[in-house]
C-alpha cells in the first residue's frame, strides 16, 4: 500500500480519482493547490505524488522544487490536460518522474503506481548519517554547528546564518526548521532577487488593486510562514529604505499588506542569511544596526569546506549515492580519488563539490563502475581569484610564467606530466623551463 498525494484543482476529478486509488488499495490525500500540498508534505511522508501541471497558486514544478528542498524521495507523476505541456513533461521526466495526459483511465493510474518504488535500494545502502535529515559531516566544526542548531531550535529566537557562498545556508535553515518541530511550513525568499517595488508585496502581501497588476489579494511570506519558519536569504542585499518596514514587523509581530490598513498578527521564526562578513556588514552599511540585532539574536557561522576537509569524502560519497539512485547506476569512488577531492581547496564550498561530483558522474563510462574525475577542479571563480592575486601590471612575462608553473605544480602535487598537460605544453618544454628558472630544480 502506498501513501499517495493527489494535487489537482478539479474537485470532481479528485473525488473520483481518490475513490479509484483507494479501490486499488492505496491511501490517498487530496490537495487543491500548492499551499495545501505543502501542508500535507510537512505533516507526513508520501511515496507517490499525482500532480496537476497548472495549479491556481503556481506550477506543479514549484512543488517539484519543494520536494528537492525537503529531500523527499516521492515518485512524481504529472497529470496534464494541455497537449503543449506534454513535450516539456517528456523532457523533464526521468526515473523519479513520469507524466499522464488527460483523459485518464484506471490502467494509467494503476501503471504509474505499480512502478514504485526505486527508493528502497538507497535506504538499504545509505550508511551516511544526515543530521536533522539533511546535514552531512562528522567533523568538529559540524558537531559544534549541530549543537547550536539543537539549542536554538528549542527557543523561538531569530537566527542569522553567516558563511561564504555555497556553504549550505539554506540547508542549515531547513535543519533549524525541522529541529524546531513547528506546525507551520518553511517559507524561503531571496531578498537580493526582488526589486525595490516588489519586495514589500513579497514580504507583507498586497490587497487587490494596491498597484497596477495587483489583480488579486496576495499573502506575504510572513503570513505563509505562520507558526513555521521564514528564511530570508541574502538579507543584506535588501534595499536599505525597505528595512524600516521589516523592522516594524519584527518588533510588533504584525504586518500590514501593501495597500491595506488592517494589522495582521504573524508568528514565525525568522532565519536570515548573508554571505558577507561581520566586518562588511558593519562597514558597508548594508544592514541597519537595529535590524541586525533583531535578526541576529543568535548568529551562526557555517564553516567553509576548507575548515572541515575531513567531511569531503563523506559528502562526495553522499552526492554520488544520490546520483546513483536517481539514475540507477552503481559508480564508486577509489581511495585515491577521495584523497584528491580532499586535497582541493573548494573555494565554492559544498556547492562546488556537488557540481564537480555531478560533472564527473556525467563524464564517467556508462559501462564501468569507476567514476571519472577531471584533471582539474578549477571553476571560473577560483581561477579568477588566483589570477587577481598573482598578476599585476608591471610584472615581467617571465615572472608570471614562473608563478603559473609554480602554482600548477603545487596543484598537481609536483606531477610534471599532469602539470604540462594542464599548461598546454610538452613535458620536455616544462623541464626546459624548470631548468632555466633554476628555482624548481630537483
Amino acid at each position: 500500500m502506498l501513501n499517495v498525494l493527489l494535487v489537482d484543482d478539479d474537485n470532481e476529478f479528485t473525488d473520483v480519482a481518490a475513490n479509484i486509488i483507494e479501490f486499488l488499495g492505496h491511501h490517498v490525500s487530496v490537495a487543491a493547490n500548492l499551499k495545501e500540498a505543502y501542508e500535507w508534505l510537512d505533516s507526513q511522508p508520501f511515496e507517490h505524488i499525482l500532480l496537476d501541471f497548472m495549479l491556481p497558486d503556481g506550477s506543479g514544478l514549484h512543488l517539484v522544487d519543494h520536494l528537492k528542498k525537503i529531500q523527499s524521495k516521492a515518485q512524481v507523476t504529472f497529470i496534464t490536460g494541455h497537449p503543449s505541456v506534454k513535450g516539456i513533461l517528456a523532457e523533464i521526466s526521468g526515473p523519479q518522474m513520469d507524466y499522464l495526459v488527460k483523459p485518464l483511465q484506471r490502467e494509467d493510474i494503476e501503471g504509474v503506481l505499480s512502478k514504485q518504488p526505486k527508493i528502497k535500494p538507497q535506504a538499504k545502502t545509505s550508511s551516511i548519517k544526515r543530521h536533522f535529515g539533511c546535514l552531512i559531516g562528522e567533523s568538529a566544526p559540524m558537531q559544534e554547528l549541530y549543537l547550536m542548531i539543537e539549542r536554538v531550535a528549542k527557543t523561538s529566537a531569530n537566527v542569522m546564518l553567516m558563511g561564504s557562498s555555497g556553504v549550505g545556508k539554506e540547508v542549515v535553515a531547513t535543519a533549524i526548521h525541522k529541529a524546531s518541530q513547528v506546525k507551520g511550513q518553511l517559507v524561503t525568499t531571496n531578498c537580493g532577487a526582488l526589486s525595490k517595488e516588489l519586495i514589500g508585496s513579497e514580504l507583507f502581501g498586497h490587497e487587490k488593486g494596491a498597484f497596477t497588476g495587483a489583480v488579486a489579494k496576495k499573502e506575504g511570506v510572513f503570513e505563509r510562514a505562520e507558526d513555521g519558519t521564514l528564511f530570508l536569504d541574502e538579507v543584506t542585499e535588501m534595499p536599505i529604505d525597505m528595512q524600516p518596514n521589516l523592522l516594524r514587523v519584527l518588533e510588533s509581530k504584525k504586518v500590514i499588506k501593501v495597500g491595506g490598513t488592517k494589522e495582521i498578527p504573524v508568528n514565525c521564526r525568522v532565519v536570515s542569511a548573508s554571505n558577507r562578513t561581520m566586518e562588511s556588514i558593519a562597514t558597508d552599511k548594508v544592514l541597519r544596526e537595529d535590524i541586525y540585532f533583531r535578526l541576529a539574536v543568535f548568529p551562526i557561522h557555517i564553516p567553509s569546506l576548507r575548515e572541515r576537509k575531513e567531511d569531503i569524502p563523506l559528502l562526495a560519497k553522499a552526492f554520488l549515492e544520490e546520483l546513483n539512485t536517481e539514475n540507477g547506476c552503481e559508480y564508486v569512488w577509489t581511495d585515491a580519488q577521495l584523497e584528491r577531492l580532499s586535497n582541493f581547496d573548494w573555494p565554492g564550498n559544498v556547492r562546488e563539490l556537488r557540481h564537480s561530483v555531478h560533472r564527473a558522474f556525467i563524464m564517467s563510462d556508462p559501462k564501468g563502475k569507476e567514476i571519472q574525475l577531471p584533471h582539474t577542479f578549477e571553476s571560473p571563480f577560483s581561477l579568477t581569484k588566483k589570477q587577481n592575486n598573482n598578476v599585476t601590471a608591471g610584472q615581467t612575462i617571465e615572472n608570471v610564467e614562473k608563478e603559473l608553473i609554480r602554482i600548477t605544480l603545487e596543484k598537481v602535487e609536483g606531477n610534471k606530466t599532469a602539470a604540462a598537460e594542464m599548461l598546454g605544453i610538452s613535458t620536455k618544454t616544462l623541464y626546459n623551463r624548470l631548468h632555466a628558472y633554476g628555482d624548481f630544480a630537483e
Binding site: F23, P83, L104
Partner: protein, 71 residues
C-alpha cells in the same frame, strides 16, 4: 490562424479535456462498482456526473464552433 486564435483553440481544447477526464474516471469507477457488487447509489451518482460532464463538454465545443464560424 493567428497565434492568438491558436492559443484560444488550445485553451478550449484544454477546457474540453477536463470534463472528458471526469467522464473517463467516473466510467472506470462504475466498472469497479459493478465488478465488486458495491451499492448502486454510488454508481448512479457517477452516472449523473458523467451526464453533467457531457453537457459541459458540449458547451465548450459549442464555444469553439461559434468562435470559428462553423455553427
Amino acid at each position: 490562424m493567428s497565434s492568438d486564435e491558436d492559443q484560444s483553440v488550445n485553451q478550449l481544447v484544454h477546457d474540453a479535456r477536463s470534463p472528458l477526464n471526469r467522464i473517463s474516471m467516473n466510467a472506470e469507477l462504475i466498472k469497479l462498482i459493478l465488478e465488486n457488487d458495491m451499492p448502486k447509489e454510488k454508481g448512479i451518482q457517477a452516472i449523473d456526473k458523467i451526464i453533467n460532464a457531457c453537457q459541459e463538454c458540449s458547451d465548450t465545443l459549442q464555444v469553439l464552433s461559434a468562435q470559428h464560424g462553423n455553427q
